[in-house]
């Protein structure tokens, strides 16, 4: 029977399948960070259990990590205690840890791919919803809660139910200035924050095939924002080229065997998806969110919506609530929304390609006098690469701040936060109320829109910069 890519990966990991029970699925890689793991390790200790496969487990420090003075002890005692707990747990249970200051440290979803630990056909979990990022390699990767983290630590498996299958096909050419971030924001606006519930989404079509691995990661990363369990993309030559030579990629005869297997990881002709969505790449434009969930987005040429246009009372109330929180007036052109802070970074858009795109626009220009811009590389390695390319100088010369690696202002568990009422254009993944700091107002954007916004001081597309220079 023809199978989808996700079904092939799922089936290859079934340890046990019995009618009336969830399947037991083997986990190839378990990524761990400091926030969602301490209670899981405590659970192991309380039950006298060990970590079954420390060799398939990797930990890093990312959420609490300051991006300034990164070699000093963390000033916030609660954050420091959490990071210290991870260090103790990693040492006690024999897990490799990339701590602050380590060359391999970074956002957990940036370091897995960069080390070559993320490979096609794997099952990958982490106590973090953006684990879907790793699906860009054709892996079945999804976020789990702390009880499941404990379960994977103890057994290297998870009880799972077979997910439904959705295809999001993006065909055609993306217009200039339109990126992977715009694609996924448009997908979420179309299917809604609950549209993917119960599904694994396979992104396919000619526009997806042309994307780099970094861009594919951006798309898969935000699958969770559409409510999906995971998102993935079939591995191809782009995938293999990215992986070859990375520290944990197979070598020699192993590489050949791996590529032979990986090449089978495509949805079969005739495989059936439970739901299909088609998007014409040529119709897309830079996208920004106006509200307080990632589905509340529009093309940048749009205007702030009017609650009166919503017939459904619940929807109207939600839009009213979102606009009140965001401090926006219905009918305002999105381009006229002034922004205080621009955040470039996160597991969505903190990779080298994202920094290059922004730097290209910032080069030789100065950011708006009333706007601050934080540039936070996704990992120590991304930071080093950017500095080798001189991107740090471009950001600094433009008036932006060049910071250390971590999750940073995506969720403000470190000191990088918005003040109440402060408005950001952010390349991160969530515009939830208070996400970037209490009372902070977030507009989700691509790296190119982030750079254009920093230069103009209001939401802007790269194409708008011609008028700035004139």
């Amino acid at each position: 029977m023809p199978k989808t890519l996700a079904e092939k990966v799922y089936d290859a990991h079934v340890v046990r399948s019995t009618a009336g029970e969830p399947d037991l699925l083997y986990i190839d890689l378990h990524l761990v960070h400091e926030v969602t793991s301490p209670q899981a390790f405590d659970g192991l200790r309380a039950a006298g259990r060990t970590v079954r496969r420390p060799d398939l487990t990797m930990a890093t420090e990312d959420h609490n990590v300051p991006t300034l003075d990164i070699l000093a002890p963390i000033a916030d005692p609660v954050s420091r205690a959490q990071v210290d707990a991870l260090r103790r747990n990693a040492a006690e249970f024999g897990i490799r840890l990339a701590p602050m200051g380590d060359r391999d440290q970074g956002i957990v979803h940036v370091i897995g791919p960069q080390l070559g630990l993320t490979q096609p056909g794997m099952t990958i979990v982490c106590g973090d919803s953006h684990t879907s990022t790793h699906g860009a390699f054709g892996a079945l990767a999804f976020g789990i809660g702390t009880s499941e983290v404990e379960h994977v630590l103890a057994t290297q498996t998870l009880p799972q139910y077979r997910p439904k299958q959705m295809a999001v096909t993006v065909d055609g050419e993306l217009p200039p200035g339109v990126s992977a971030k715009d694609v996924i924001l448009a997908v979420i606006a179309q299917i809604g924050t609950g549209g993917g519930q119960g599904y694994v989404i396979e992104y396919r079509g000619s526009a997806i095939e042309k994307l780099s691995m970094e861009s594919r990661m951006t798309i898969c990363n935000m699958s969770i924002e559409a409510g999906a369990k995971a998102g993935l993309i079939a591995p191809d030559q782009t995938t293999f080229d990215y992986l070859q030579g990375r520290p944990h990629a197979p070598q020699g005869a192993d590489w050949d065997a791996a590529v032979e297997y990986w090449s089978t990881l495509r949805t079969d002709e005739g495989a059936v998806f439970d739901h299909e969505v088609h998007i014409d790449a040529a119709s897309l434009t830079p996208f920004v969110t106006w509200g307080t969930n990632p589905g509340q987005g529009l093309p940048i040429a749009g205007r702030v919506p009017d609650p009166a246009d919503y017939a459904n009372e619940d929807e109207r109330r939600d839009v009213e609530g979102a606009l009140a929180y965001m401090g926006l007036t219905p009918g305002t052109p999105l381009r006229e929304v002034a922004v205080d802070t621009v955040f470039l970074g996160s597991c969505t858009n903190g990779r080298i390609e994202d920094l290059r795109v922004a730097a290209e626009l910032l080069k030789g220009r100065r950011i708006d006098a009333n706007t601050r811009m934080l540039v936070v590389p996704g990992s120590v390695a991304v930071k080093a690469q950017a500095e080798a390319e001189g991107l740090d100088r471009v950001f600094l010369d433009a008036g932006a701040e060049w910071r250390g690696a971590g999750c940073s202002m995506c969720l403000g568990m470190n000191p990088d936060q918005l003040a109440p009422g402060e408005r950001s254009a952010s390349t991160s993944n969530r515009n939830f109320q208070g996400r970037q700091g209490k009372g902070g107002r977030t507009h989700l954007v691509s790296p190119a829109v982030a750079a254009a916004t920093a230069l103009t001081g209001h939401l802007a597309a790269p194409a708008d910069l011609a008028s700035v220079d004139a």
Partner: protein
């Protein structure tokens, strides 16, 4: 995890959709390394900033059943959201749609999530707003929500229901199948990556 068989209590109407886990408990509360004591962070922004927020209203202060709009629990995978609801005195959340990870975490933490059609959620909202002291019973054995003269059946996976009724811990259940796990491990290709040992630069 505590077993869940049936629960009777009063209910609070949370007439909002897309209640994300950042609203249920913000990230700053996630720095703790304990598994209990998260009630102080539960809906803290709304409790602080909105005097009329449903959980600020005295008639709902003792509610143990939360009745929410669609797409409850979206966003982050933080199980702290489930813990915060339990710590805040809730045993059941009713909604027409839940985010997958939140719902899954609930089954591990012992918080019952009940899916009812939106028109039934609406009817329940109206009933509890008319009488906030109205007892609502959620019976997992009978798979039914009842209040006043109304009884509404709900669906739940049989296996999940059994685990909740028995209060069973998943790890212990999986450990019964260690033989299967070992057999599977023997078939894994040797080239699959290992995180250990750390490789030289």
């Amino acid at each position: 995890m505590d077993a869940f068989t049936t629960h009777t209590g009063t209910a609070a109407p949370l007439r909002r959709s897309n209640v994300d886990t950042d609203q249920i408990i913000p990230a700053e509360y996630l720095k703790r390394i304990t598994r209990t004591g998260f009630e102080d962070g539960l809906f803290i922004a709304w409790r602080t900033n909105e005097p009329d927020f449903v959980l600020n209203q005295p008639q709902y202060a003792d509610a143990s059943i939360l009745v929410a709009g669609p797409d409850f629990g979206t966003g982050s995978s933080r199980e702290h959201a489930n813990w915060a609801l339990l710590d805040g005195g809730f045993r059941v959340v009713i909604s027409s749609r839940f985010a997958d990870i939140f719902r899954n975490n609930s089954t591990k933490a012992g918080l019952l999530t009940v899916i009812l059609p939106q028109d039934q959620v609406e009817a329940l909202w109206n009933a509890i707003e008319a009488d906030p002291a109205l007892p609502v019973t959620v019976d997992l054995r009978a798979k039914a929500v009842s209040y006043g003269d109304t009884t509404v059946p709900f669906e739940i996976d049989d296996y999940v229901r059994w685990r909740l009724l028995e209060g069973l811990d998943d790890v212990g259940l999986t450990e019964r199948h260690l033989d299967d796990i070992q057999s599977y491990e023997a078939t894994r290709p040797a080239w699959k990556p290992k995180a250990l040992p750390a490789l030289p630069a």
